[in-house]
């Protein structure tokens, strides 16, 4: 469909845009001692025949994209087209004015097709036609850009959904199998605890599925999930797992990307507690520092293990997600200090707040 007709606003603007040209024509006519009304009619007829007629250039524009057409093709086509359309416009305008001249004699001189008149009108027509072509090219470029932006936006939404889906699927299967194995052991050892663990596991699954549907959650909600997870691992690891919480109430309402902390805590179990014979303490701390929220996840590591080079996949993802959401206003560090692994996350507690 023709882009001018896509909205009333566009059509209105287009028609209004021809008004100054009508005024110009009218002024030119008025100078030649034409009564004002007649001059106005001449202006309007001239301008709006052009407005209607030259809309057709869109279809030619569309078949000759500026970027991919050869310059020689463009020059010849538009020269020929402007000559044809300029002439057509001139003939049409004179014919209409002559017909109108029968009812309103003041118009009659404007319907006379003589040499000088034709030359001036024809040239004007050619120029107006080329201007309309330029306008159409502009419109086409604009539409293409909007289209590209929309596609990009759609892609971004798709990527975001894919990321969330991946996170949800990330639900560690080994955690599930090990938990089920613990339940299997408890059914005969301690039926009550077996049931307790079933409930904990169901709660955990339900919560993580639910959180996974959202892009961001309150820190308190995420911590709730983490507590749930650790309660299950507590049954599995028994005395090997100790947990220390230091969460300021002021930071609990901060919005964070969903399931940001869960992988950090899973890492603390997998590469920490599970690798150390005597186990140890996982420390989770969260606080507010000025405009930023700061979260620490700490765990013991096996002193003899070779220090891993760089960040593992889980930590890299956390870092990427932080950067994706907060850009340069975030800080992520994972380091080993005094036999403990420590991950530190710092990010704006209110990301929409304008930087001072």
């Amino acid at each position: 469909m023709h882009p001018i007709f896509k909205s009333h606003a566009r059509l209105g603007t287009y028609l209004l845009g021809w008004l100054p040209i009508a005024a110009l024509f009218a002024a030119q006519a008025a100078v030649k001692h034409t009564p004002l009304l007649a001059a106005m009619i001449v202006g309007l007829v001239g301008a709006y025949i052009a407005a209607g007629l030259f809309l057709s250039s869109f279809f030619l524009c569309r078949s000759l994209p500026l970027a991919t057409s050869r310059t020689s093709t463009l020059v010849t086509t538009w020269t020929a087209a402007s000559l044809v359309m300029g002439t057509l416009w001139t003939v049409l305008m004179f014919t209409v004015l002559r017909q109108m001249g029968r009812a309103y004699p003041a118009l009659t001189p404007w319907g006379e097709m003589n040499g000088p008149n034709l030359l001036v009108a024809g040239t004007t027509g050619c120029i107006l036609y080329l201007l309309t072509v330029a306008l159409h090219y502009l419109l086409i470029t604009l539409e293409q850009r909007q289209e590209a932006e929309r596609t990009e936006q759609e892609l971004r939404v798709l990527a975001r959904e894919a990321e969330l889906k991946a996170l949800r699927a990330q639900l560690n299967p080994h955690f599930l199998f090990n938990s089920l194995n613990s339940i299997s052991a408890l059914t005969t050892l301690d039926a009550k605890r077996a049931r307790e663990m079933c409930v904990l596991l169901s709660d955990f699954l339900r919560k993580s599925l639910k959180l996974g549907e959202r892009a961001t959650v309150k820190l308190s909600e995420e911590l709730d999930l983490v507590r749930n997870y650790l309660a299950i691992e507590q049954i599995r690891f028994g005395e090997r797992l100790k947990i220390e919480w230091e969460v300021d109430a002021s930071v609990e309402g901060v919005e964070i990307p969903t399931l940001l902390l869960q992988p950090l805590v899973e890492n603390a179990i997998k590469h920490g507690i599970a690798q150390v014979m005597e186990g140890g303490t996982i420390r989770i701390a969260a606080s507010v520092r000025g405009a930023f929220a700061e979260i620490h996840v700490e765990n013991p590591i096996d002193a003899d293990a070779e220090t891993p080079q760089g960040l593992g996949l889980g930590l890299r993802q956390v870092k990427q997600r932080l950067q994706g959401r907060y850009g340069g206003r975030t800080f992520f560090e994972a380091k080993i200090r005094e036999g403990r692994h420590e991950a530190v996350l710092t990010f704006p507690k209110d990301p929409d707040e304008v930087e001072a």
Binding site: H174, N181, S182, A185, L189, A274, V276, M277, D304
Partner: protein, 252 residues
């Protein structure tokens, strides 16, 4: 006629996981649990002392994983791996485990595994896993990042970064670190296949060096070269070794 009895060792870092195996074994008086271990170091120590017939072995454990434990045992017991990870199954059978139980498992599956173990035990076949089997099995975690050695019941982990060179000595390899040399029963070829060839190079029939320890090459006689390491150790370089060195260093 009384059934033959067997001794068994349960190795898992989780109490509850050991409890499941123990419970299943309670129905089998012919299997006597001699010990339970909660980490790889203990497992090697206890298995070396008690020489159990059968071992229920977890894979992911602190310090030593199940495969490393198995590698260090001589003679090797009949092994049933018990794990939540299915990706090690292939490797498990390559090291001749009789079965591979995925957690959680039911009584039927457990009985099946135990039955297989009894058949293997009854056949009296010696269970020596060849170094070549281990090295082919180890493809999944190539290249190696550490080597485990056992001296009596003492287990040492040698991170590859600490190695200066490795020397073949009959059926053993001598793993030389700045502090000391460790002996391990393995062939140089099978160890070589598990190392990153960009980092470790065979310079001689009997020597592999860690490349960043190499200080320079010296021509001792005509057509005969020696590698001088950073600490001053001189090692012979064979003709083939010299060609490999030139290849790796990209010299002419």
């Amino acid at each position: 006629m009384t059934e033959r009895t067997f001794t068994a060792l349960i190795v898992d870092d989780e109490d509850l996981a050991r409890a499941v195996v123990r419970e299943h074994l309670a129905a089998h008086p012919e299997i006597q649990i001699v010990a339970e271990c909660s980490n790889g170091f203990d497992a090697v120590k206890v298995a070396t002392e008690l020489k159990p017939d059968l071992m229920f072995l977890d894979i992911q454990m602190p310090k030593l994983d199940g495969f490393e434990v198995l590698e260090l045992l001589e003679p090797q017991p009949t092994v049933i791996f018990v794990t939540a990870y299915d990706q090690h199954a292939l490797k498990a059978f390559e090291v001749h485990a009789v079965d591979y139980l995925l957690k959680p498992f039911g009584v039927e599956r457990f009985e099946e595994a135990l039955q297989r173990a009894k058949i293997r035990l009854g056949s009296g076949e010696p269970m020596r896993v060849q170094a070549t089997d281990l090295s082919s099995a180890a493809k999944s975690d190539w290249p190696l990042d550490r080597i485990v050695v056992r001296d009596g019941t003492k287990v040492t982990l040698i991170p590859l970064a600490k190695l200066d060179f490795i020397q073949a000595q009959d059926d053993y390899v001598l793993l030389k670190t700045p502090e000391k040399g460790h002996l391990k029963q393995q062939t140089l070829a099978s160890l070589e296949s598990r190392l990153d060839p960009k980092r470790f190079l065979r310079i001689h029939r009997s020597f592999i060096i860690q490349m960043d320890r190499l200080a320079r090459l010296e021509q001792s006689e005509t057509e005969s070269w020696a590698a001088v390491l950073i600490d001053g150790t001189r090692l012979p370089v064979s003709k083939n070794g010299y060609a490999r060195l030139k290849d790796l260093l990209g010299q002419d």
